[in-house]
């Protein structure tokens, strides 16, 4: 009953907005739309292989929402988080997307695994819900040039550029690329390969969720690489780092942003020391995030992790766009997002490219030192 009520209200509002834009003006129509909270949908993995990431993102989003609500909310309405579990799995993600859409979310601020985020694009698209994707960054997400999709994490291409830059800086001559055949991971590997030219000696795919990668590692070591770049997630990453070292590999190892997690070090053991990573700014490497880390830690009893800052920024960006649009209408929010110029985020001032990606990827090189990732080179 309640749902139909909201739906019909929304329909009326849209008709009003459609017919009488000039007459009603921007503010008036939107103010009357609904007095309930503005719901933000967030699909992140809360179970499955990437479950460790989920809380980092939902907590940070909640922190941003609480801060905004304390200041009076957006357009006089409170924000409300509707998180759902995508399990880093395509089918679960589509079901979760349908769930949050029926719950009446106005903007989506989730998306971690590219493979799981990709099939949810049309679900949100049909419901005319703008998507601010905080973490997932496969090029495929923007290749379809969908109007409602915005990435606030660097793309696969930008990550590949950062990786090849660092590989050149390290003077590596024989580079092995390893990926896990998922959309995100393969994307980075196949984009890095041509940038390296004939320095890339092998691109090896592994089967995720296994324990023993000795056969793949044998293939890689056959080519006598002096640098290995793993572009997949941290579970396999930890095992691969450990098994590479146990197989006698002495060169450098670098991992992609999906492997940047404290769990990587736990799984890999002491072998993780000195491992590099391509990553967008994380709380630890941000110069002015000290106060933010403190308030996060105080609220949730644990420190923020990978993609906490992007999730936090996604909420703030959504609030900014809705305020600018003066309404939660999908089309208006989208054009507000496109018009944003210089909005302050952790990764720097924001301006979207025509493809709805960041104009600068902001990828840095981290290194594992003293039990965590620390900044090695900002690549700027």
């Amino acid at each position: 009953m309640r749902k139909t009520h909201i739906l019909s209200l929304a329909a009326t509002a849209m008709m009003l907005a459609g017919c009488g834009q000039g007459l009603l003006g921007n503010g008036g129509g939107a103010q009357d739309e609904a007095k309930g909270p503005i719901r933000l949908g967030m699909l992140v993995p809360q179970s499955g292989s990437e479950a460790a990431i989920g809380p980092y993102m939902t907590n940070a989003a909640q922190l941003a929402i609480d801060e905004i609500n304390a200041k009076g909310g957006v357009l006089g309405r409170q924000l409300q988080l509707k998180a759902a579990d995508d399990a880093c799995d395509a089918q679960t993600a589509v079901a979760a997307a349908n769930k949050v859409v029926t719950e009446g979310v106005e903007v989506s601020i989730g998306g971690y695994c590219s493979g799981a985020t990709l099939p949810t694009l049309p679900v949100f698209g049909k419901a005319n819900i703008p998507m601010i994707i905080p973490a997932a960054n496969s090029q495929e997400l923007v290749d379809q040039k969908l109007k409602h999709v915005f990435l606030i994490n660097g793309t696969g291409t930008q990550q590949a550029e950062a990786a090849s830059k660092w590989i050149a800086k390290q003077g590596a001559t024989r580079v092995a690329l390893m990926h896990d055949n998922t959309s995100y991971s393969k994307d980075i590997a196949v984009r890095t390969q041509p940038m390296l030219g004939d320095k890339a000696v092998i691109t090896e795919a592994v089967t995720p969720k296994e324990s023993d990668y000795s056969a793949n590692i044998h293939n890689v070591l056959q080519k006598k690489p002096d640098f290995v770049y793993w572009t997949g997630y941290f579970q396999e990453g930890g095992l691969i780092i450990r098994q590479l070292r146990q197989a006698g590999f002495k060169g450098s190892i670098m991992v992609g942003d999906g492997s940047v997690s404290a769990k990587l070090g736990e799984i890999a053991g002491p072998e993780v020391d000195g491992v590099f990573a391509t990553m967008t700014p994380i709380p630890d490497t941000l110069p002015d995030a000290k106060g933010w880390i403190d308030s996060y830690t105080k609220k949730f009893g644990s420190a923020p992790g990978p993609y906490s800052n992007q999730a936090y920024d996604a909420v703030r960006l959504a609030a900014e766009a809705i305020t600018k649009a003066g309404s939660t209408d999908g089309a208006k929010v989208i054009s507000a997002l496109e018009g944003i110029n210089g909005f302050a985020m952790f990764s720097g001032p924001l301006k979207f490219t025509p493809e709805h990606t960041l104009s600068a990827g902001g990828f840095q090189i981290l290194v594992w030192k003293d039990g965590k990732f620390a900044l090695q080179d900002a690549l700027s």
Binding site: Q46, S47, G48, S49, A51, A52, N181, E204, A205, V206, T207, K209, E210, S211, D212, S214, A215, N216, H218, N219, Q235, G238, L239, R242, Q246, A247, G248, K263, E266, I267, G269, P270
Partner: protein, 297 residues
């Protein structure tokens, strides 16, 4: 080349240990116990629980502690197997084969997601790790710990073989495999023997789980799924129901994967290994060492 063989044998010995339980259960009651891989997961988690409870003691004496934990885990996983049989399979003993198969799949999901509720969805990392420096022999890199693990696997498999071929218990198992009804007429307590078979098979899977946890370090609630399928494949390649065939099947599958990866590249490994499974099923459905079973009347 030596490295390929070594890698294959190492992975293969895990497959063989898990496959044995599959094979024994199938041999005796013709049930494909799809929850068997999850017993491997249960083993890994119960070893993890014991090691975490031990805390500091464990790190001081890695190997003896791990062996003790291995034994404790084998007992607890074995008991879990017995409970599984009692709850999920025995009530359906007379039911059509298909009902049993579906129950087995259901049991598998119940164990996996039950563990998810208990231990959480995050992967866990073993507090004690078998990490040694690699040594090179004949061009193959391996660690002493790998040798110990293979040693344990071989001891377990030889022990099982002796049990089945040389003891009264083993004779009872083989008798039931041939004809359960006549066996019970001859005074064999069929239910008790089947329970014990589940105990042994599950204990072996549990042992493999602890070994994998201690060696690879990472465990999670879905870790049993893939290895369950692999173990099934190994059992079919070797000859399901046949003990030595199953051990051979495990090693062969390990080698197939190792060489498949080398020849065709990582993305083709499973295509290759499971392609071989299809080939075996069509050309030699009884497996390498299995014998054609005469239809029971």
């Amino acid at each position: 080349m030596t490295q390929l063989v070594w890698n294959g044998l190492f992975v293969g010995s895990f497959y063989a240990l898990v496959a044995l339980g599959y094979s024994m259960v199938y041999g005796i009651i013709k049930l494909l116990n799809f929850a068997h891989g999850d017993l491997y997961m249960l083993g890994a988690f119960s070893g993890f629980a014991v090691l975490s409870a031990l805390g500091g003691v464990a790190t001081a004496m890695t190997l003896p502690v791990l062996l003790a934990v291995l034994l404790m885990t084998m007992v607890s996983t074995g008991l879990a197997g017995v409970v599984l049989e009692r709850v999920a399979y025995r009530p359906l003993r007379g039911a059509p084969r298909l009902s049993l198969l579906i129950t087995a799949v259901g049991a598998s999901f119940a164990i996996e997601y039950g563990m998810r509720i208990v231990a959480g969805p995050d992967p866990q990392v073993y507090p004690v790790r078998l990490s040694g420096t690699a040594i090179e022999v004949f061009g193959a890199w391996f660690t002493l710990q790998q040798l110990v693990l293979i040693g344990v696997a071989v001891v377990l498999m030889v022990g099982l073989n002796l049990l089945v071929t040389r003891t009264r218990e083993g004779r009872a198992m083989r008798a039931i495999a041939l004809d359960p009804r006549t066996s019970s007429l001859m005074g064999i307590d069929v239910n008790a023997v089947i329970s014990r078979t589940f105990f042994i098979g599950s204990a072996l899977a549990g042992a493999a789980g602890v070994m994998a946890g201690a060696y690879y370090g990472k465990i999670d609630f879905l870790m049993g799924f893939l290895i369950g399928l692999k173990a099934f494949t190994a059992a079919v390649i070797g000859g399901i129901g046949n003990i030595s065939g199953t051990m051979l099947g495990g090693l062969v599958l390990g080698l197939l994967e190792s060489f498949g990866t080398y020849w065709l590249g990582g993305e083709w490994r499973d295509v290759f290994a499971f392609g071989v499974l299809i080939l075996f099923l069509t050309v030699r459905p009884t497996g390498l060492l299995g014998e054609r079973v005469t239809e029971r009347v």
